[in-house]
Symmetry: C2
Subunit: 247 residues, 2 copies
Amino acid sequence: MLQLFLKSIPLNLNILSFFSGLSEAEKKFQQEIKILTGFKPKNIGLYKKAFTHKSAHEAEHNERLEFLGDSILNSIISEYLFEHYKQKNEGFLTQMRSRIVSRESLNRLGKKMLLKDLMEYKQNVNFKNSSVLGNTFEALISAVYLDLGYQKTYQFVTNKIINPYINLSKLESTEINFKSQLLEWCQKEKKELSYSIATIPSDKPTPMYEAIVFIDGIEYQKGNGRSKKRAEQFAAEKTIKQSLNLK
Amino acid sequence: MLQLFLKSIPLNLNILSFFSGLSEAEKKFQQEIKILTGFKPKNIGLYKKAFTHKSAHEAEHNERLEFLGDSILNSIISEYLFEHYKQKNEGFLTQMRSRIVSRESLNRLGKKMLLKDLMEYKQNVNFKNSSVLGNTFEALISAVYLDLGYQKTYQFVTNKIINPYINLSKLESTEINFKSQLLEWCQKEKKELSYSIATIPSDKPTPMYEAIVFIDGIEYQKGNGRSKKRAEQFAAEKTIKQSLNLK
């Protein structure tokens, strides 16, 4: 009886969609997720949520997923670097990780992966000078993790993100930025970093600045420079090398 | 033949140790790890490394493990909070996570778990005012992860750390610290936070301070207070509520 019933139905896509419980649009979305992640999604609702910006839906948006995805991505990148650079120390690994998971880097990745095309958002959302794409990328990590577990997420990140988009040797040779290095250290140690800046009295036409590093309100090293940034960079370098002995 | 050989050997612990390839001390260590984590370790060498401070061994110490463990712990705490507080938003979850994984919190946990007793270190190591115990705790997380995988590490963290040591409702009711909230936001967004402080001229005996929040060098809100900290706290609160609309 069932066989007869099945035979009588033309086997077109709509019927298939009906049986799988997914609409045409959902099947297309599912296919796009498969191309993006390398895995067929099980719970399509998770991915839908990951691609829903707050502007499109007041209650069911991706911000909680973004919270979780940020941590999961960090773990995966840490593990990847830990395995890839077996002879490198913690400081090197931390530097490399922060270059990969920086806001700019995540936003860039979200752009390259064309995440915007899959997103739901209101027209007034600012994609250019915001972290919308990086945040959505994190939410996607979360969706893959909750749907398929840690190992598959690890494979997604290495195969579909690190291998095609991250140039490790280029990242390695990036010039050392002492200010960001000091900031990373302070973040890790949950200490508050601040700089004070003063203009040094001088009879020359170009100004000279003096920067002082403060960590948790305690004064560390001073640095002078022709720009505020140079002065802070010197003060950070001296603090790293002379006070904290991080190098 | 083998049976005869086995029967001829007195079945004492030394022989067992011989067959398992572990010395008496190693078996004791293995037992202690089992009590600590709830799982019998497979690769005891990982745990040994996790408990080796740099002072005790120049090459084979726990700093690389600490790098990985920090991320894994963050992920596990994130997932736990994500599942536990299904109705709470990202801001709340971030606050709770940072309270659990703060340096002070991790050092406190390391102390309660008596990690020092298992450690190898030189006598001059300062345990009191340092992150040694918190770092070792992170390295232990890493050892469990590399030895037994993510799921077992998750169980270790929930059963042996969160349940016995973390009082979530107490953490929830901790007074909102706007300065640390702003710092967390800036860290997440990889922005640089600083404050400038000036004394406001006054004829009163107690001084009055004015603090200004700077994010990536751009001036945000001002706040006044009778102490530098109060002034900064007000400036941070105004920045969060009026400029960033985070609440």
